[in-house]
């Protein structure tokens, strides 16, 4: 029996009092109850990101499921020095969604990468009180909306659409350097506007 197993079973209520980082140590020791608490805390944010990227409910569900199973199976590899569990989990979701998108045809992906996608989708059930602070969310949305369209577009196509810079260049019929430059300007501008965001978001 692994040393990381909790000696006596904690009740789910007591598990819910633990920080994500402590729960991940239990998850690494094969504790499904600790995993359940992690799932409760982050599933909505994970699904929201997957849904934004995949644009269909079923693909978003598959991606979210794959990501959480990877998180469960690779729980031992979470390294708290490299960021919060939320950031780590969303990073896994993002990677999975990019993989899924890269298996899709370009047309579907273009839809997902373009802005304003929410309007054209089947309406998902919205949550009113999210773990994501609404203030932080609207601050980041606002900062994105303030970017010049050309910068916002390449960032969204890359991050949410899963396109490579070469694909984006050929899609927009622009030189590779222009695409990279717009990404750089856009991210630096966001960085200036979100200064101090980390304190709000976590």
């Amino acid at each position: 029996m692994s040393v990381l197993r909790r000696p006596a079973r904690l009740t789910n209520d007591r598990l819910r009092k633990l920080a994500d980082e402590e729960l991940m140590e239990l998850v690494a020791g094969n504790d499904p109850d600790a995993f359940e608490v992690i799932l409760e805390r982050h599933a909505d944010a994970a699904f929201s990101l997957a849904y934004r990227m995949c644009a269909t409910r079923s693909l978003a569900e598959d991606v979210t499921q794959e990501a959480f199973l990877a998180l469960w199976r690779g729980g031992a590899r979470y390294d708290r020095a490299r960021g919060s569990v939320r950031t780590w989990a969303l990073g896994i979701v993002h990677n999975r969604a990019v993989d899924a998108l890269r298996r899709c045809n370009v047309h579907e992906r273009r839809r997902a990468g373009d802005e304003g996608i929410e309007d054209s989708l089947e309406a998902p059930e919205r949550t009113d009180a999210q773990a994501i602070g609404n203030a932080a969310a609207s601050e980041i949305r606002g900062a994105l909306d303030e970017l010049p369209d050309e910068q916002k577009q390449v960032i969204e196509l890359a991050y949410f659409g899963g396109f490579t810079h070469i694909e984006i260049a050929s899609m927009l019929d622009l030189p590779l350097g222009t695409i990279k430059g717009r990404m750089r300007l856009g991210l630096h501008k966001l960085r200036g506007q979100l200064h101090g965001w980390e304190a709000v978001g976590t």
Binding site: S2, N30, D31, P32, L39, E40, A43, D44, A45, F47, S48, Y51, E61, T64, F68, L69, A70, W72, R73, G74, R77, G83, G91, V93, N95, V98, D99, R102, R103, E118, P124, E125, R126, T127, A136, A137, I140, R141, L144, I155, A158, Y159, F160, F163, T164, H165, G177, K180, M183, R184, L185, G186, L187, H188, K189, L190, R191, G192, L194, G201
Partner: protein
């Protein structure tokens, strides 16, 4: 805010933004560059914080309760399997000392797999307290993937290949799963997968494994191939 940025110290700074967005096509060579360029490392660290904030900008949606249930059911059954099998059940068996190259009938390459050393151990376990048998078969990995692990999990007619510690497929490539029956050429599946930056990945194999002797993984151009175009990096040998 001005649209001018200070002139970077390093010409490769321009790759930092596409890199942190996951959009740089030749990410491997930039990753190499980062090892020796402090200025680019700093740029990547600063821009990563911005990219980490991007998921927060999406419209919130509620994960369906059925999704919760599906995930938890799988996790609980795997936890039982691992508990029953002991702490090392999850690991691929070590290759036996002697190497025995074996020829695969590949139409395009016909290359031997250097690392197919021993017969894969099959850990066959029936989860206690449930009637669903979970079968976990460890895989052989090519010597070109040191530290990688892979196993095939079969539950109720559904198979899933789970990998960890894998390197990224070569630029422009994706991993593809193939099924090989006795005497036949490897048949393509629609299971194409990549791996996370931590090297883990999962591929769901929709096709029936009836009569399949080997499950193979090769790297193929994105979109997949109809015939393998490279040597397999993973081989799972199934008991007849």
């Amino acid at each position: 805010m001005s649209s001018r940025l200070p002139e970077p110290d390093c010409a490769e700074h321009i790759d930092a933004a596409p890199y942190v967005l996951g959009a740089l096509e030749d990410a491997d060579s930039y990753r190499e560059h980062l090892l020796t360029c402090a200025s680019c490392r700093e740029e990547v660290a600063a821009l990563s914080l911005v990219v980490e904030a991007l998921p927060t900008s999406v419209a919130p949606a509620k994960a369906p309760a059925t999704l919760h249930q599906r995930i938890l059911t799988t996790v609980r059954s795997e936890a039982e399997v691992l508990r029953a099998a002991g702490p090392h059940a999850d690991e691929a068996p070590r290759a036996a000392g002697r190497w025995r190259a074996r020829r695969l009938s590949f139409p395009a390459v016909g290359l031997a797999i250097a690392a197919s050393a021993a017969v894969a151990a099959v850990i066959a376990i029936t989860t206690s307290g449930s009637s669903s048998g979970v079968r976990v078969t460890a895989a052989h990995l090519s010597a070109s993937l040191p530290g990688a692990r892979a196993s095939l999990r079969q539950v109720a007619g559904h198979a899933e290949l789970v990998v960890s510690g894998m390197r990224q497929p070569p630029p422009g490539k994706i991993y593809e799963v193939w099924l090989k029956r006795a005497g036949g050429a490897p048949q393509p599946t629609d299971a194409l997968f990549g791996v996370t930056s931590q090297g883990s990945g999962t591929a769901s194999v929709g096709q029936s494994l009836h009569g399949v002797r080997e499950v193979l993984v090769t790297s193929e151009p994105r979109g997949g191939s109809l015939h393998p175009t490279s040597q397999p990096v993973i081989v799972v040998t199934l008991a007849a």
